[in-house]
Amino acid sequence: MTVTVDQEKVLRTYAEAARTAHDALTALDQLSGDGDFGDNLREGLDGVEAGLDARPGEAPFAVAAGVFLDEVGGTSGPLIGLLFQEVGRALAAHGDGREGWAAGVREGLAAIQRVGEAEPGDRTMVDALAPARDALDGGAGFADAARAALAGARATADIRARRGRASYVGERALGAPDPGATGVALLFWSLARVAEPDADLGSVADAVGWPAAS
């Protein structure tokens, strides 16, 4: 049996997660960037929800892509827009199941890397996307793909940035995960929540994993 995933529900779950994680993402971005990532992600996904409400007939990820590409500030906003664009195209071509998502994440990551020229280990959103792509390409389910993305994001805490905004501050951001990687990992957390509601994924706060419990 092929699992199909409600695209709109994934985006609405992601929007809720971004609202919950807003303060933590903002704090992370204040350590390594200009502090607007939490705002951009939350406001972008609020805009996506408004778009979904206003244009119920349209493909949800195409709506999300338009909002993030055209309206969301910073560099990471439009890059997430590219991910949405490619996921939307792949879901349209391959269906709403695992195969469509695997293709969409693969193409989305490729587009983001063409544009941003970042490799895994550069402390960017690629560090969440690449493990998720590898998991999905290797046949993993959505919950395992989410775990891979979250682990990848968490591991950025030990990387000194070479690309992205954090490259300007060097060691100051060490010890805290990259906000872009963390924010993108939340998409996979949301996807798994919708696709495999019984999987043990923990809360949004667990997913963000910062500030670390002491």
């Binding site: 590409l69 055209d70 560099t75 439009p78 890059l79 827009g81 590219l82 664009q85 490619e86 195209r89 587009a111 063409r114 544009v115 941003g116 020229e117 070479r162």
Partner: protein, 335 residues
Amino acid sequence: MNRLFLPAEAPVDAALRGFALAHPGLVRLHEDPLYVTARDRHPGRRVGLLSGGGSGHEPLHAGFVGRGMLDAAVPGRVFASPHNRQVYEASRAVAGEDGVLHVVKNYTGDRINFGIAAERLRADGIPVRRVLVDDDLATDDAETATGRRGTGATVVVEKLLGGAADAGLGLDELAEAGAAFAAASRSIAVAARAQTAPGRGGEAFELVDGEIEYGVGIHGERAARTVERPDFEDLVDRMTQQVLDALTDASDTVLLLVNGLGATTLLELYAVHDRVRHVLGERGVSVAGQLVGTFVPALDMSGFSVTVTSLRENWLDWWHAPALTPAFPVSETAR
């Protein structure tokens, strides 16, 4: 005191409106998103040519929109990259049967925003390639991953590409030709006074008397070193020699750009040109085409740059090919 006379709100929008009103027969203004397109286009052109980048470098890029050069130009705010949506919409508007070519100066913001637009165009089925201009010798450092900045050579690359596009080259051929134009071009810039800082007024950086910034960028990026000001002849000789020495496979025929950085007078630029030609003559280099004037400034910086492009076989035909734009001198094309 702020020396700049600009409206407090949306100065780039105002300037682009004024620009379009000044050249109604050549360009068309699009306000949402902001860009300009050429009104006329050579029928043989198969690829739309688009460039853009931060404002403050006028006449670049909008001044080179018109038949024979760019089909569209996309301005960002002062010294800031345009938004990907501007690039995307303008590209859709001017894409030819064989797609669209982006001419991008090598800055991280421009690379990312043009890159995002390119991915959107690809998703729409519009072929797109990029030519990266990276001529500035002051940033020629193998240690940095970002590479050389794009500066004065941009206007040379845009003109050569315009001629090549009108000759009917396809997208891949044009992209390769553009990369070759950029690879054959090097520049160096000096400043005796920084540009006005756009927001706060005042000079973007301070120089003491008797010093110049050797290797300044077109956004007022400081040079690696501030040097004691040499004599006029020594300075121009050193700059010209440095550019020539950097062109490893230099031919003996070149294009030359002596470019003002905003506040430098034509009296000065022509005097610089005279001295550059003296040096080139001594080195046995002949100049097949030249531009002298303010083409790629850094707002109102006092300074100038020297760009040399080493010519190959048929490039000169593309340089002299007809172009009618607001800012490219017709005298260079009327051959």
